[in-house]
């Protein structure tokens, strides 16, 4: 049974290989090949899951060793897989949501001539993401880590003819590379500190504690911070968050799959997976929570101001991942809830993005919410599914988000001390802002009067419901958004499932769970109410008003991008330009200068060779005289 693990990856990888190398012959059937192989992977995952459920919690770690990849000295990296409860959770999410989005894409990308390629990239992404979560050592994880980065690059830039898409793709890859640098330094640190970076010996398995805790705290903090840097890059956390908004240039299914449900959560996976390291490095944990808290607010604020529906959702994603990172930084009290929120977020955010895609599909690819309005009548299915996703994300009682987010807020308070109050307060505030911006999106898109206008060529959009290939995945995801949280929480099913891997401890919360829930409810209502007052009661202007200072700042991603642009891009341009100049004038100048001075010297010496035989005769004669002199001198001596 354990040998099936490789099949999980192999299926989508085969799909990618066939679709990308297959050529035009496969254009007609490309989408089916891709979808079937993604679904096959999901089926394998379900089989493995069933098998895993049949075992006792202690025996649920499956491993499969394929071959020795790199072996030099005591540096050993194998290609091997480890499937435990944590990985299983991810595998199910990835293959499940992934398959749904494949199905969705069949409809969404129907008219794109490069559809085959799109499905190839999607399959490539699935393979890389599965490799990321299944790897049994950090180096192999790194392969998956960069693999998803590559897939993300290819998919963001899928519409390459648009310069904005190409730039966004490049930016995403570069920012991620900065994070990757963190991961590679972390691996190097692990190797020098422990002599290994395999999960087994390092992090330990059930009953066999790893050696991660044996190192000095300074080393562990360094490793932890480097892992956090990696997580920041992949999960769009401050300060490496800038790429996510631009990444919305990609096709919407991509935004749903990669930039909402799966890839961006890889950072959370990394932190939770490295729990053994973080548990022994409290300073690193503190930084993780701070990053999570800051991003939580950052994303939420940005999400409030965006008029582009996808960018608003991207801000929301950032913010929700901030919750997860915050939870992961809390240590054993938060790991499980981080993952739980990750899964529920996977459902509802994917559903929201698919809904947004459906809206765009019906609106001639318009993304400006100010040009939507009143769409509920035209797209009932989209409206309902989107609405359920909306309720889930704001934490409406009984829906998924309610259970997972509430737990995180509780856990933040449970951290204790001033930190606990601050983190808990931030999380609560975040919940309020979430309610605000999501209500804003909801109202601007589906309620109010219709505001759409003919496009440049005079085509009036005709909003219509999407085909069933698109609506069915949305319905399935909406189903998940509604029930997943409850299903997980009743009887602490999820907690018991993950506990063997991540460990769990109940914190000592200064605030009771009920108080937190009530406070959340109140803030939720306040947030949603303000949004309703602002957008539901009065009509929405089609062109964005200038807005307050904060709004303008939020529209520009709180000027963080501008900072990057001025400092890194402009500065880098100046640096490279001056270096090119230096290379040409100084480094090469020295070389050419040497050459020129040798040339000048020979030019002067050449004048001795004036071509007159008599001149040469003088030198001959002089030479003869010198020879005679030398002979005589030698005789004399």
């Amino acid at each position: 049974m354990e040998n099936l693990i490789a099949l999980l990856i192999a299926a989508p990888l085969l799909g990618a290989a066939v679709l990308l190398c297959g050529g035009r012959r496969l254009d007609a059937v490309g989408q089916w090949i891709g979808t079937v192989l993604a679904a096959a992977s999901f089926v394998v995952a379900v089989v493995l899951f069933a098998d895993m459920l049949g075992k006792s919690p202690e025996d649920r770690t499956f491993t499969q060793h394929l071959y020795s990849w790199i072996a030099v000295g005591n540096f050993r990296a194998d290609v091997g897989f480890q499937l435990d409860q944590l990985s299983m959770t991810f595998v199910l999410l990835i293959t499940g949501v992934g398959s749904l989005i494949h199905v969705y894409s069949i409809g969404y990308m129907e008219h794109d001539e490069r559809r085959r390629r799109f499905f190839g990239y999607l399959n490539l992404f699935l393979a890389a993401m599965l490799l990321l979560v299944l790897a049994d050592n950090y180096l192999l994880l790194y392969v998956g880590w960069e693999g998803v980065g590559l897939a993300s690059y290819l998919l963001i830039g899928f519409w390459q003819h648009k310069p904005s898409a190409a730039t966004a793709a490049k930016k995403a890859f570069l920012v991620n590379r900065v994070g990757d640098m963190g991961l590679s330094i972390a691996i190097m640190l692990m190797f020098t500190t422990f002599g290994t970076f395999a999960f087994g010996p390092l992090l330990g398995t059930e009953g066999h504690p790893g050696i991660a805790g044996d190192a000095t705290e300074g080393k562990l903090t360094a490793i932890g911070l480097m892992l956090l840097l990696a997580a920041c890059g992949k999960s769009a956390q401050v300060p490496l968050q800038s790429w996510l908004g631009d990444a919305m240039e990609g096709p919407t299914p991509v935004s749903a799959l990669i930039h909402a449900a799966t890839m961006v959560t890889a950072g959370v996976y990394l932190i939770v997976r490295s729990a053994a390291v973080f548990n022994a490095a409290p300073d690193a944990q503190l930084v993780v929570t701070v990053v999570g808290g800051v991003t939580l607010l950052f994303g939420a604020i940005v999400g409030c101001a965006k008029d582009d529906i996808k960018k608003a959702l991207a801000g929301s994603t950032m913010s929700q991942i901030g919750y997860m990172v915050l939870a992961a930084g809390l240590g054993p009290i938060g790991y499980v809830f981080a993952i739980m929120h990750l899964v529920t977020h996977g459902f509802f955010k994917a559903g929201l993005f698919l809904g947004a895609g459906s809206v765009m599909h019906g609106m001639n690819d318009e993304v400006d919410m100010r040009k939507f309005g009143g769409l509920r009548k035209y797209m009932p299915v989209t409206f309902v599914t989107f609405g359920l996703g909306y309720l889930a994300i704001i934490g409406f009682p009984g829906l998924s988000g309610f259970f997972s987010k509430d737990k995180i807020i509780e856990a933040a308070f449970a951290k204790g001390g001033t930190e606990g109050w601050i983190l808990g307060g931030v999380a609560l505030l975040g919940a309020a802002i979430t309610a605000y911006y999501m209500t804003r999106v909801m109202i601007m898109t589906f309620f109010g009067e219709k505001r759409w206008q003919p496009d440049a060529e005079g085509h009036e959009p005709h909003p219509h419901e999407s085909p069933s290939s698109m609506t069915i995945p949305m319905i399935v995801l909406a189903f998940g958004s509604v029930f997943a949280g409850g299903f997980f929480s009743i009887g602490d099913r999820f907690l018991h499932w993950l506990e063997p891997v991540t460990g769990h401890s109940e914190g000592d919360s200064p605030v009771s769970a009920l108080t937190v829930t009530l406070a959340t409810m109140v803030l939720l209502v306040v947030g949603a109410g303000i949004a309703y007052l602002q957008y539901g009661r009065s009509s929405v202007p089609v062109t964005a008003p200038r807005g307050s200072l904060l709004t303008r700042a939020a529209r520009r991603d709180l000027y963080q991008d501008d900072f990057n642009h001025v400092v890194l891009v402009r500065g880098g341009e100046h640096l490279t330009r001056s270096l090119v100049y230096v290379d040409h004038t100084l480094v090469d100048g020295v070389v050419n200068g040497t050459a020129a001075s040798v040339g000048g010297l020979s030019g002067r010496l050449r004048k001795l060779q004036n071509g007159y035989a008599r001149s040469y005769a003088v030198s001959m004669f002089g030479g003869a005289a010198i020879l005679v002199a030398a002979t005589l001198l030698m005789r004399a001596v």
């Binding site: 020795s68 000295g73 540096f75 960069e146 003819h161 590379r177 990757d180 500190t193 002599g195």
Partner: protein
């Protein structure tokens, strides 16, 4: 005495060069096929060598030794260790692709050349370079090595100066001027390095009384040959300077962008993927083995220079306007990594560096040859002249992207393994150096993706709208290289198995041990 396999591997291309040059003027196509067949034959011989090589056997295998100039103790002495055999295999492997990629580069009607029999000359010169490079990798006699180390400059000079890239922004006249400038610069730069090395070679003979690598190493090991510290350092510097020019190491690098920019793409591949490797290879074989103490003495300075090369090369690559010069500066950055790995004096570093030489050869060949195909279609080397190629020539763009991704060391492709090994190997001994070098991977992503974005994506430029996609011949060149990149990225064991024992030997020569991890893994 058994069949002289190593000699045969070098002699076959040499004979092939003569035969190709002798093909009658009218039979140009025959010359091409002959060159291709000879290179394939050499590849077969190299494969046999690789198969006959026993990684766990003696250090130097398949050895041959004959007296050559008895008066000076110069011997015709060949032998390969794991590092040498890997590089011989790389050289033999790349040549058929270089020849195939340059199939039309020397056609008189294409180049408008009035030279006498250009095609025959072009392919004969390529084979001559191959022969000389192979024998350099095989020589275990310092003098023999020196001769071919220098002699390969001659055919390279003619290849750069005689068969340059026709795509030049200021027309043919300027191209010819630039080309001869580049060729002369290449020659003089390397000659200066070579002459300094010659002095060191003679000095070594005076001190050691022998040119034989093994003899000297043995004599030094058992104490029968003592070198004064300062003598050893001077000799080391003499050797190292020549290799640093060839490699090239900052600040001795400025010949490379000119040479690679002006040469045709296959010749540029020849320069960076094959000929330059002799420099790094020689550092590993001659500098470290002959002068272990001096190598350790010079390590800090060399590491700093290598770091500068990595960052500087990458930054300059970002600032280039010319595709081929960009690849050249990227190569400078990569050579920084190789030298870093060699002088980190760890097993991982040196194995990684050797692997890096092989992988860099393949990846640069892939990127540069595709870039060459691209340039030959549009007739311009300027990045700004392209745009939207992806739309009209998706296969070309795809292969270009894969070549680029290999250059930025994407995991899953071969260069990643080597680059990571180098970084780890460096990091274990010099953490700060390792971290700074890691910045190189971000910069690598920057220059590669900027290049890809500016040339391949965006709206289709009018001039490239009619651009044909890769032809069958071109696909034949690129596809195997890409397959190899993926294979070695996923399964580098065939090479590491061969290289590891040799690296272990070198490490014991310099009497260095890997740093041990702070926390021993509980088994």
């Amino acid at each position: 005495m058994s069949f002289p396999l190593l000699t045969a591997t070098a002699v076959l291309p040499a004979l092939g060069a003569i035969a190709t040059a002798a093909v009658p003027a009218a039979r140009r196509v025959a010359a091409k096929w002959l060159a291709l067949l000879v290179s394939l034959g050499t590849l077969a011989l190299a494969a046999v060598t690789l198969a006959r090589f026993d990684p766990d056997g003696a250090r130097y295998q398949l050895t041959e030794s004959h007296a050559w100039i008895p008066d000076f103790g110069v011997r015709y002495q060949l032998g390969v260790d794991g590092i040498g055999v890997a590089l011989v295999a790389l050289t033999a492997l790349l040549m058929p692709f270089v020849i195939l990629a340059g199939w039309h580069d020397a056609d008189p009607h294409e180049t408008g050349s009035r030279r006498w029999r250009p095609t025959q000359g072009f392919f004969a010169l390529i084979l001559a370079v191959e022969a000389m490079v192979i024998i350099s990798f095989e020589a275990t006699d310092v003098f023999l090595f020196y001769i071919f180390f220098e002699a390969m400059l001659i055919p390279m000079y003619f290849l750069i100066g005689g068969f340059g890239d026709r795509a030049h922004e200021h027309g043919d006249e300027a191209a010819a001027t630039q080309r001869s400038y580049a060729a002369v610069k290449f020659l003089l730069y390397n000659l200066v390095g070579g002459l300094i090395m010659l002095a060191a070679v003679i000095g070594l003979y005076v001190v050691a009384g022998s040119f034989s690598l093994q003899e000297i190493v043995h004599a030094r090991a058992d104490g029968s040959l003592h070198m004064a510290t300062s003598t050893e350092r001077w000799l080391f510097l003499g050797f190292f300077f020549a290799f640093a020019v060839k490699a090239p190491l900052w600040p001795l690098h400025t010949w490379l962008p000119n040479a690679m920019g002006e040469a045709t793409a296959p010749v540029a591949v020849l320069i960076t993927a094959v000929v330059d490797k002799v420099g790094t290879f020689a550092m590993l074989r001659f500098c470290l083995q002959l002068f272990p103490e001096a190598s350790k003495w010079a390590t800090p300075a060399i590491l700093v220079l290598a770091l500068i090369s990595i960052v500087y090369g990458a930054l300059l690559a970002v600032g280039q306007r010319d595709i081929k010069r960009l690849v050249a500066y990227a190569s400078i950055s990569h050579f920084g990594f190789i030298i870093l790995g060699i002088f980190a004096m760890t097993t991982q570093g040196q194995s990684g560096a050797t692997l890096y030489m092989v992988n860099h050869g393949i990846s640069t060949a892939a990127l540069m040859l595709v870039a060459g195909f691209l340039i030959s279609r549009r007739g311009s080397r300027l990045i700004a002249d392209y745009g939207g190629v992806q739309k009209v020539a998706p296969v070309l763009a795809g292969t270009f992207l894969i070549g680029g991704l290999a250059t930025l060391s994407l995991p899953g492709l071969a260069p990643f393994v080597s680059e990571f090994l180098v970084l780890v190997g460096t990091f274990t001994r010099y953490p700060v150096v390792g971290i700074i070098a890691t910045f190189g991977i971000v910069l690598a992503a920057l220059y590669t993706l900027v290049l890809y974005q500016r040339t391949m994506t965006g709206p289709v430029k009018a001039e490239v709208a009619e651009m044909p996609d890769l032809r069958v011949r071109e696909l034949l060149v690129v596809a195997p290289l890409i397959a190899l990149l993926i294979f070695l990225g996923v399964y580098p064991k065939p090479i590491t198995d061969i290289v590891n024992p040799a690296v272990k030997q070198t490490m014991s020569d310099v009497q260095k041990k890997d740093p041990q991890p702070e926390v021993e893994a509980a088994k």
